[in-house]
Symmetry: C2
Subunit: 190 residues, 2 copies
Amino acid sequence: MSRAREGEWPTVAYALLAVLARGETTGYQLARFMDKPVGLFWQAPHSQIYPQLAALERGGMVTSSAEPGPGPRARKTYAVTDAGRALLRDWVTTRPEQRAVRDEMVLRSYAAWTADRAEAAALFRAEQTTHEQRLVELEQMAENLTAKHGARLGDPAEPIFGNWAALQRGLGAEREYVRWCTWMAEQLGR
Amino acid sequence: MSRAREGEWPTVAYALLAVLARGETTGYQLARFMDKPVGLFWQAPHSQIYPQLAALERGGMVTSSAEPGPGPRARKTYAVTDAGRALLRDWVTTRPEQRAVRDEMVLRSYAAWTADRAEAAALFRAEQTTHEQRLVELEQMAENLTAKHGARLGDPAEPIFGNWAALQRGLGAEREYVRWCTWMAEQLGR
DNA sequence: CGGGTCATGTAACGAGTTACATGATTGG
DNA sequence: CCAATCATGTAACTCGTTACATGACCCG
């Protein structure tokens, strides 16, 4: 929540800044956008988002204006400050240190020889199907984006380019994962 | 560390069982194998491994035999029990619930429009290069495996099939990531 | 009038990271 | 003799998840 060292923020803070950089919103909208189902580039529950927004405000990276809301608490609309924009801009071009490889399905494939062959094949076929469906959804999103924004998608100065870029990654990653699951199911199902 | 509910273990426990299922080893060897650099399917530091091995032993999933070691503490060799083998076998064919999408580079791509264009292009080119090198290493590993084990790699009953399967995933994932980084660098570098 | 949506927060916990600790043997 | 390797462990902390909490309004 609070910074580890002066000037260092957890990644979720940059995710919030990245969304707020496109226009001010309420904490609730941010939480909706980043909660479970979609959230193509980063996910976080509201229990992480509200305290993080408060921390960003204490740090002067965002400002909030409260209007009386429907519930027991006021509704707050957040906006990025210049300091927040600068922080995000710097972070975007900083190289991440290499993350740990941790994939439950890869671990299962590594131990597949210990399991029942047919059950293991079924597992990978089921995974394949799920991610084929996910792939169809993403392809639908790509069609919608193309229809609405056309050539602007190729312009890295436009915010919508960010959506396109994240979507390209999602499409590629899902295709590759489906390919691997298919291969695994084939290997196991003989 | 301890089980959340009776019969539920953290994933790192299954990773340890998966390695121990191939033959008994010491905690140190496990830690070496799963620490930072390699660990193609799961990574964990020794500070997580030693307590987890102790927990598995308390749960009757592994046994240990201690011989006097070089340091102030005894060297312990661990082996899976029948219960541990059964636990692993069941877990392997259980479907994981879908994991959260959280990729710092995707987040950066989403916010790329806020950054300096040339710096952003350089970032993705650098990532591309790093992962091209990683890919070469994996291809080397694939060659070595093929040379040493040949057709046994295609037999899902052989433990070595697990290495092959994990490696296939690594190769595919790295290739796809390199592809995306290349595309990003191209888009940004115009 | 009961459940869903809007709207914001706190608390408890688990998983993973980083740092601290100890001490013998081996190699340059 | 200093550093690396072998060998095991604990402590403090951060990040992320799950659950708890409150209450107005709207729709069927």
